[in-house]
Structure formats: structure tokens, C-alpha cells
């Protein structure tokens, strides 16, 4: 009982008071290391991300950049009008933290978006029951803040999804992709190296496979009997998650115009993660000590937003800085493959000669 109380307090306080708490923590012993230049004739295969140290869940340790790296900037008008995206996350805080800017951007550019949460998030909360209820609410509120039309939850047990039948999760996603006519997927990179949370890998793998199988005629044909049609999810944005991870990146998305919306998406996520109401808790904690932080403003709502923007979004600012942007998110983007048949036909048309 005491230990549980201690853990709860330390988690909350850790989220609210990083600097103060860390200053009092005893330093852990480590072996001495020194920076070393790369040996001659070698090129770095991975780039270490700059970290602010303010958030446990932002950019991974390393990105490897593809040589066709692109920057996706805000588009004018509604170029994606009529298109549908599904943002699939294992937990209520995944999409808001890692891809909230991208979702807000694509919705603003015309996409209809749906947020699909795979787990029940029971592992975060005062009790398991309270955790499940709060995170259910959060998932809906996050969806609203990011501009999604609707939120779904599958409620698989949190941290235990490697015990689920992946094929059943995939079946449910195939069904939803077909019903919602999804064109584009945003989810956790299924190849997230050094990922320690099994839910992320299972969710990512199920979503990736569902994209392809939703377009085949022979998989779950009973859906077609109910009037559904095959859909081809042709675009995918995979985000990194593992704090110690190493991910391939080929697209940097400029989320500068959407940073405040991303912040609001994270404020809505109260049941878990480092965001939610951490700002107002810190403000209250300081007030008890007769102190205040100017950046937290004079009310709880401002405190929550400012805390997230100044502490939790800092790593996204540092990432943006690397590319001359105010704020950025990074993705492994997979686009439409195009038509091989059309390419062959084009060649034939250009090269066929008379007999």
C-alpha cells in the first residue's frame, strides 16, 4: 500500500517538478565516456537527436535520414478534401504527443479524421477502473481537440497486447478502414527499434497489415455482403516513439502553425502521460511554497497549456530548428505506389513499332 502511494506521488511529482525533483535525486554512478570522432572514411548512419530533457516521451535517441528526405509544409486551401485518415494509437497519449501536429494539419487541409485507440489504458490511473474511465474520456477529448470526426476504442488490456490475437485486432481495423473508407494511416512505426512497450508494436503491426488487407477481395468477404467495399490505404505516416529508439525518417512535417492545437490535444489527455494538467499541478505546488513561475500565467488553463508548450514541446522545437522550422514532427512516410500496369502501358505506347 505504502509503496503504491509512493509510486503514485513520485510519478505525479516527477511530471510536475522535473527540475526540483531531479536536483535532489542522488547522481547515479556511470562509467566515464568521452565523445569520439568517427574513424576516417566512415559516415554516420544515425543522427543523435537533441533533447531538452523536459519530457520522457518525445523524439527517440537516433534518427536515420533517407536520401529522399522531404519537408512537408502547410498547404493552402483544402487539397485533401474528400480524403479520410485514421490515426491509430495504442494509448490515449500516443497520437497527441507524437503526431498531434500532423493530424491537426491534415484535418485543416481537408481530411476527415478518425482516432482509433487499441488498448483500454487501464495501467494509468488511481485504480484500474478510474484509469480506464478517464482515458476513455481523454481519447474522445483528444479527438475533438485535434479536429477528428469521431473516436473509437477497442479496449484491449493495457501493456498486455502481446497476449491478444493480432489477427482479431487486424480484422477489426480492416472492418473500420472499409466502413470509414480510409485513405491514409497515421500510427506507431511497427519497426520501432528498442521499443519496450508491447502494445505499440502490436498496434503498429496490426494497422500496417490491415492497410493492405482492407483492399483485397478475398479477405473477410462477408463485409462486402453487407455493402462495404475494398479500400486501399495508400499513404502511411509512421511515427517513432521509443525514447531510446532508432528510426528511419524520410519526411519532416512543419507543424509550426499547428503547435497550439497540438498543445490543446495534449492538455485534453489528463489520464496518463506527462501532459494533461501537469501545469496546474505545478502551479499549485509552487503556490503552496509561496512561489510562482511567470510562464505558467495566472490560471490553471494557461498553466496547463504553457507547461506543455514550454517543456513538453521543446524537443519538437529543437527538431524543427535542425530544419529551419519553428516546430516539426518526423515520420517514415510511405506513399502511393502508383500503377505498375500504367507504367508498362506508357512504355508500350512510347516504344511499340509497326510489325
Amino acid at each position: 500500500m505504502k509503496r503504491r502511494k509512493f509510486l503514485t506521488h513520485s510519478t505525479l511529482a516527477g511530471a510536475a517538478l522535473p527540475a526540483a525533483a531531479m536536483a535532489q535525486a542522488p547522481a547515479r554512478a556511470t562509467s566515464p565516456v568521452t565523445p569520439l570522432p568517427l574513424p576516417a572514411k566512415t559516415t554516420a548512419a544515425a543522427y543523435a537527436n537533441k533533447r531538452s530533457g523536459y519530457s520522457p516521451f518525445t523524439v527517440p535517441d537516433y534518427y536515420s535520414y533517407a536520401d529522399d528526405l522531404q519537408i512537408e509544409r502547410a498547404a493552402k486551401g483544402k487539397p485533401h478534401q474528400g480524403k479520410v485518415l485514421a490515426a491509430v494509437q495504442a494509448h490515449s497519449d500516443d497520437i497527441p504527443l507524437y503526431a498531434g501536429g500532423l493530424v491537426a494539419k491534415l484535418v485543416d487541409e481537408g481530411y476527415t479524421a478518425y482516432l482509433i485507440r487499441i488498448s483500454n489504458d487501464e495501467a494509468a490511473g488511481k485504480t484500474l477502473g478510474y484509469g480506464v474511465v478517464q482515458n476513455e474520456i481523454d481519447n474522445r477529448e483528444v479527438a475533438k481537440e485535434l479536429g477528428c470526426k469521431k473516436a473509437f476504442s477497442f479496449y484491449y488490456r493495457n501493456h498486455r497486447m502481446d497476449d491478444c490475437a493480432e489477427i482479431e485486432i487486424r480484422q477489426r481495423l480492416i472492418f473500420l478502414f472499409r466502413v470509414l473508407k480510409v485513405d491514409t494511416l497515421i500510427t506507431m512505426d511497427p519497426y520501432n527499434h528498442y521499443e519496450e512497450n508491447p502494445d505499440h508494436l502490436v498496434a503498429g503491426r496490426a494497422a500496417e497489415a490491415a492497410c493492405w488487407l482492407a483492399g483485397t477481395s478475398k479477405d473477410y468477404p462477408e463485409h462486402y455482403r453487407a455493402g462495404l467495399k475494398p479500400v486501399h490505404v495508400r499513404e502511411k505516416y509512421y511515427h517513432a516513439r521509443s525514447p531510446n529508439g532508432h528510426n528511419l525518417v524520410n519526411r519532416i512535417v512543419d507543424i509550426s502553425p499547428y503547435i497550439d492545437q497540438k498543445v490543446r490535444g495534449n492538455v485534453a489527455n489528463k489520464g496518463k502521460g506527462p501532459a494533461g494538467e501537469a501545469g496546474s499541478r505545478l502551479r499549485a505546488e509552487l503556490a503552496k511554497q509561496g512561489k510562482k513561475l511567470a510562464l505558467l500565467g495566472d490560471d490553471d488553463d494557461t498553466a496547463n497549456r504553457q507547461y506543455i508548450k514550454h517543456f513538453l514541446m521543446e524537443d519538437w522545437r529543437l527538431l524543427g530548428q535542425r530544419f529551419g522550422l519553428q516546430y516539426a514532427e518526423a515520420f517514415r512516410y510511405i506513399g502511393s505506389e502508383g500503377s505498375h500496369q500504367a507504367n508498362i502501358r506508357k512504355y508500350v505506347d512510347a516504344n511499340a513499332v509497326k510489325l
Binding site: F152, I167, E168, V179, E222, R225, A226
Partner: protein, 293 residues
């Protein structure tokens, strides 16, 4: 003959007219020949009495047919359509799980598909294997029966696969179940008189040529002819030979089951009715005991 000892055995006779008009049943079997052999008479009877029937096969039947694995899948698939037609089913579905290996599949995947179909088709009644039937050596039968039993219940629960509602497909509980008598010693509590439906049952078995004995008559006729002989009961053409072979040699169980009750042919079932009464015990108590304030 084992029987359920909790209640009297119910005798189910032909009903005049179409008392089940508007109701839907799903006959779920693992293999091409299961429904024809174990429940062909009941299915024909339910259709005749007004039910709309759907036939669902869970495996691909790849192990049976006497040809290559691929050819077996094709022949069983095509014959399944003919079985559905012979028994009057409106539509036929195939799930194609690997034959004899269904104990290695995700039972959740199978169950979810059945829940989807039970809801979408608005199934009121299922006919399938008894998931608790003893003496079952075929894993496909046990897995199929269990999945159907669970799906029948869960299809009525709004929080299971709630995403179906997004497509306008609503929860729909399956309230009646007929579990067939597939192995000696399995329990039953209902005898269904199928005498007037025996020809339809035979026609459905005739279509089971890859497995189930549908073509045994014509094969025997050809074998005898090669020896310069013939059996008069097999008639003069292959179709007649197949039908009469089944009638004379493959329906002993149905005859034995019907005889004590004066029926030419009968099938046995463990029947479960969960329809309940609209007027509950609480309603009854309230109506008797409620007093004015």
C-alpha cells in the same frame, strides 16, 4: 442412445403453414458434409416452415476429395454451393480456415466473423455442432461449435465489436440453438421428425461427392457393371444410384431414431431456447402484490 436427463424429450413434428416466416437461421458447419449428414432434414424442415436459412462453412476442406490439396479446395467449394441449393438456403458463406487445423487458429478471429454475420443477417436460430459433445475427434467440429455458441451470445452485446454500429449493423442475440447429434453417446433432448424432408436431405448428401458418400452409389454401380452385375435398387442411371445408395445404406441412424416414435426418419438435437417470456417472474410478483400508495 444417450439423452438429456434433465427434461423430457420433445418431439418436433412438421408444422402446417409457415409459422417461422420472418425468422432467420444459420447452419454453421466445419465441412461440406456435416450439415447434410447431421442436420439436412432439420434444415429442410425449417426452410419449409418459413425460415430464411444461411449456410456457413468454416474450413476449406482441403484434406478431402481424393485429389491435390488445391483441387480438393475447389471441388468442396463448388459442392458447398450445391448443398446450399439442395436444402433451400438463401445464401452460402465459406471462411476457408485450414482443414483439420482449426485448433491452431485464433478462435477470436472466427468468433468475430460469426458475430458480424449473425448481426448482419439478423440470425434468430443456429444449427451446429454441440460444443460440449463427447467423443468428438475432429478439432474443426469442436472449434466451430464453441465459436458459434459464444458468438450467438455475444452478438447481442452492444459493447462487443461496437464498431459494427458504425456500419448500421446492430446487436442481435441468437436465442435458439440446435446442436446436432454427431457422435454416439452425445446428449439430446429433441427428436425432429424429418420423414417428409428425407428426399431433400438425400439430395444434399448426393452433392457431397468430395466427401460424405454422395457418389458411392454410382461408384458401386460402375464397379458391379465391370463385373457384369447390377443391383436393382441402384436403378439405371448414376443420379438414381447415388440417391438410392444413400437411402438404403446411409440412413440407418435416422430410421432407428424415428422408429420408437412412429416416424420413418428422425434426427436428434440438443435444443436450447433462450427466448424467455416477455412476462417475467418479477412482473408476475408485481401484478399479484403491488398495492396502491
Amino acid at each position: 442412445m444417450a439423452r438429456a436427463d434433465v427434461k423430457e424429450i420433445i418431439i418436433d413434428r412438421d408444422q402446417p403453414g409457415q409459422p417461422h416466416k420472418g425468422k432467420v437461421f444459420a447452419a454453421v458447419h466445419a465441412h461440406l458434409d456435416d450439415i447434410p449428414l447431421f442436420a439436412g432434414g432439420l434444415c429442410a424442415k425449417l426452410v419449409r416452415e418459413g425460415y430464411t436459412g444461411y449456410l456457413i462453412r468454416t474450413t476449406n476442406d482441403e484434406k478431402c476429395g481424393g485429389h491435390s490439396t488445391a483441387e480438393n479446395i475447389l471441388s468442396n467449394e463448388q459442392e458447398h454451393y450445391k448443398v446450399g441449393e439442395a436444402l433451400g438456403f438463401k445464401e452460402v458463406f465459406h471462411f476457408y480456415y485450414q482443414n483439420h487445423e482449426m485448433d491452431n487458429i485464433s478462435s477470436l478471429d472466427l468468433r468475430a466473423r460469426l458475430i458480424f454475420l449473425f448481426r448482419f443477417l439478423k440470425v434468430d436460430t443456429v444449427v451446429t455442432f454441440n460444443p460440449w459433445g463427447h467423443g468428438e475427434e475432429n478439432p474443426d467440429h469442436s472449434v466451430t461449435g464453441r465459436a458459434v455458441e459464444e458468438a450467438a451470445w455475444m452478438s447481442g452485446m452492444a459493447n462487443d465489436y461496437h464498431e459494427h454500429m458504425e456500419a448500421g449493423i446492430q446487436p442481435h442475440p441468437v436465442k435458439e440453438r440446435y446442436y446436432f447429434y454427431a457422435r454416439p453417446g452425445q446428449t439430446f433432448n429433441r427428436i425432429v421428425d424429418i420423414s417428409s424432408h428425407i428426399d431433400r436431405k438425400i439430395e444434399s448428401i448426393v452433392e457431397c461427392r468430395s466427401q460424405g458418400g454422395g457418389n458411392h452409389g454410382s461408384l458401386l454401380k460402375a464397379k458391379l457393371a465391370a463385373q457384369g452385375k447390377r443391383l436393382p435398387i441402384l436403378g439405371n442411371d448414376d443420379r438414381t444410384a447415388d440417391r438410392e445408395y444413400i437411402r438404403h445404406f446411409m440412413l440407418d441412424g435416422e430410421r432407428e431414431c424415428g422408429a420408437p416414435h412412429g416416424f420413418a426418419y428422425a434426427e436428434r438435437y440438443y435444443y436450447i431456447d433462450q427466448r424467455g417470456s416477455e412476462f417475467t417472474k418479477v412482473d408476475e410478483y408485481v401484478s399479484k402484490n403491488a398495492v396502491a400508495l
